[in-house]
């Protein structure tokens, strides 16, 4: 699942890492909007280049590329389907035009994914949580989000442990056709679920003991503060975006 590699936080102390997460999120959104506005390959290429520069600055080039590589199969599929459709229905006058448009669509798909890759690679889950809070998302939702991230590696380990325990009872997980393998999921999923429920109960108890829900006016240890460089990057991004948007509407 190499796509996932490009969407998980990778520690570093670069300029990009230190940017306010809200600014990074906004940049990703702005890029996404441009991808929607433009089908032209040249604009998409500019975006990719910008992302490449940011990835380089954040020292996450290899992982960012993994997202792109991971999305290629899907992109090829999109290209193929659209090419077939365009050619057979004669939407475009020439073959070249049809192929160009199909490529552009596939390209856009890749960009959808890669736009957010930099955000996730350089933002800690904690910062994502703080971002949600600063946008007044009700705390229980933010908490659910953070808990999901916090417990995913633990559940993953539990899954491995259960698989080991069942294998040691003679369950051969790697053998058999699709139907047999599906049946073999039962001894894995039932304990996993049972343990998850038990864990949830223990967690709820601990949350109760730590006054969860005591007041709606929750405070926080850390808060996000926009600094000078955040405003600079924000302004530059908005300016570039406006330029691109303007050009789309009023091409010169």
């Amino acid at each position: 699942m190499s796509i996932l590699e490009g969407l998980r936080f990778y520690a570093g102390d670069t300029v990009i890492h230190r940017l306010d997460p809200r600014v990074k999120f906004l940049i990703s959104m702005l890029m996404l909007i441009i991808v929607v506005m433009y089908v032209e390959v040249w604009m998409l290429t500019i975006l990719i280049a910008l992302q490449a520069i940011m990835a380089y600055a954040a020292k996450v080039v290899r992982r960012w590329l993994k997202t792109i590589r991971g999305s290629l199969p899907l992109a090829v599929l999109v290209f193929g389907l659209n090419a077939i459709f365009f050619i057979s229905s004669g939407t475009y006058a020439t073959l070249q035009e049809a192929l160009y448009q199909s490529t552009a669509l596939a390209y856009r798909l890749v960009l959808f994914l890669s736009s957010f890759s930099i955000f996730f690679l350089t933002t800690t889950p904690e910062e994502i949580g703080l971002t949600l809070t600063s946008w007044r998302v009700p705390y229980p939702y933010t908490f659910a989000f953070i808990s999901a991230i916090r417990f995913t590696p633990i559940i993953a380990q539990e899954l491995r442990d259960i698989m080991d325990a069942q294998r040691a009872r003679g369950v051969e997980l790697d053998k058999g056709g699709p139907l047999q393998r599906a049946k073999k999921l039962v001894p894995i999923l039932v304990p996993l679920l049972a343990n998850a429920l038990r864990r949830a109960y223990e967690l709820a108890e601990a949350m109760e003991v730590k006054c969860f829900g005591a007041t709606k006016k929750r405070t926080s240890l850390r808060e996000l503060k926009m600094r000078y460089k955040d405003y600079v990057v924000l302004s530059v991004s908005l300016a570039l975006f406006s330029l691109a948007a303007y050009y789309r509407l009023f091409p010169f």
Binding site: D161, I162, D164, A165, G170, E172, A194
Partner: protein, 278 residues
């Protein structure tokens, strides 16, 4: 029965959990595998039934290279009871849980019935036959996990941290059970950091640290070696720890049972009396 031949194992994450481990465990032995967290105990255990195969080196179970056999095949000979017994229940009744493993391993229905009866009786779970495994208490769940493994009568039984979370009465029962299984001729390997438990078992001790075996000998020798234990972040059992404080007065620091300690203390004190008398 079990032989590790210069085994090295590296996890996909790059962690080298076993680094050149060579050891032989004979049929019918009782062995305690000890070491701090991360020493490689669990990795070692997982090599016994082929869940993990060595990156380098070979593991032999009953003369056969584990790489040539599947986990299911090896499990017939080596039964492993993992630490979290609750990890594997999913059937409506206890007797079905025990039968499940037997059926997987290819026993005929007749044999399955007999083995289920035997295992439940041996682990004193007969009365809970039709009960759901989810309704059992913690101690009962551990007994069920053991019953499941014993049902197919593996020659080797390995237990990963069997004493965690158990009260003293439960530990006492567990100790008796282990001794009995061993007396019946089974090879029993327990991985644990409970020094008091091992001291009472007086078994062979294999001490691991950072993926290597650093000591292999009797409990009396290893659990009284202060330097060795502290280099592996293990606490000495209380009897030995107390006696070692008095070593300078001539008391024997190499004892691990209360009776031995008392006898030695009395002996030394008598000597003091005689010297004074003289």
């Amino acid at each position: 029965m079990i032989r590790f031949d210069n085994v090295t194992y590296v996890y996909p994450t790059g962690v080298k959990a076993l680094n050149g481990v060579s050891v032989e465990i004979g049929r019918g032995e009782l062995v305690a595998l000890m070491g701090e967290n991360g020493a490689g105990k669990t990795t070692f255990i997982k090599h016994l039934n082929g869940l993990l195969k060595p990156t380098n080196g070979k593991v032999y179970v009953d003369g056969k290279d584990t790489r040539t056999l599947s986990v299911a095949q090896l499990s017939r000979v080596v039964g492993i009871v993992f630490q979290n017994a609750d990890d594997m229940f999913f059937l409506p009744t206890i007797e079905e849980e025990v039968a499940f493993s037997l059926r997987n391993l290819g026993f005929s229905e007749e044999v399955v019935q007999k083995r289920v009866d035997w295992a439940l009786k041996f682990m004193e779970l007969e009365e809970y036959r039709k009960r759901s495994p989810f309704l059992l208490s913690g101690g009962e769940k551990k007994r069920l996990a053991l019953a499941i493994i014993l049902a197919w009568n593996p020659q080797v039984i390995a237990m990963d941290e069997p004493t965690v979370g158990q009260d003293s009465a439960q530990k006492e029962k567990l100790k008796e059970m282990i001794k009995q299984l061993n007396l019946q001729g089974r090879t029993v390997i327990i991985s644990t950091h409970d020094v008091e438990f091992v001291a009472e078992l007086r078994s062979r001790v294999i001490l691991m640290s950072k993926g290597r075996i650093v000591a292999d000998g009797r409990a009396e020798t290893i659990l009284t070696d202060g330097e060795l234990l502290s280099s592996c972040s293990i606490l000495m059992p209380q009897v030995a720890a107390t006696m070692s404080r008095l070593a300078d007065l001539g008391f024997n620091a190499k004892v691990i049972s209360v009776d031995e300690a008392v006898r030695n203390i009395v002996e030394v004190l008598r000597r003091f009396e005689h010297t004074r008398g003289a």
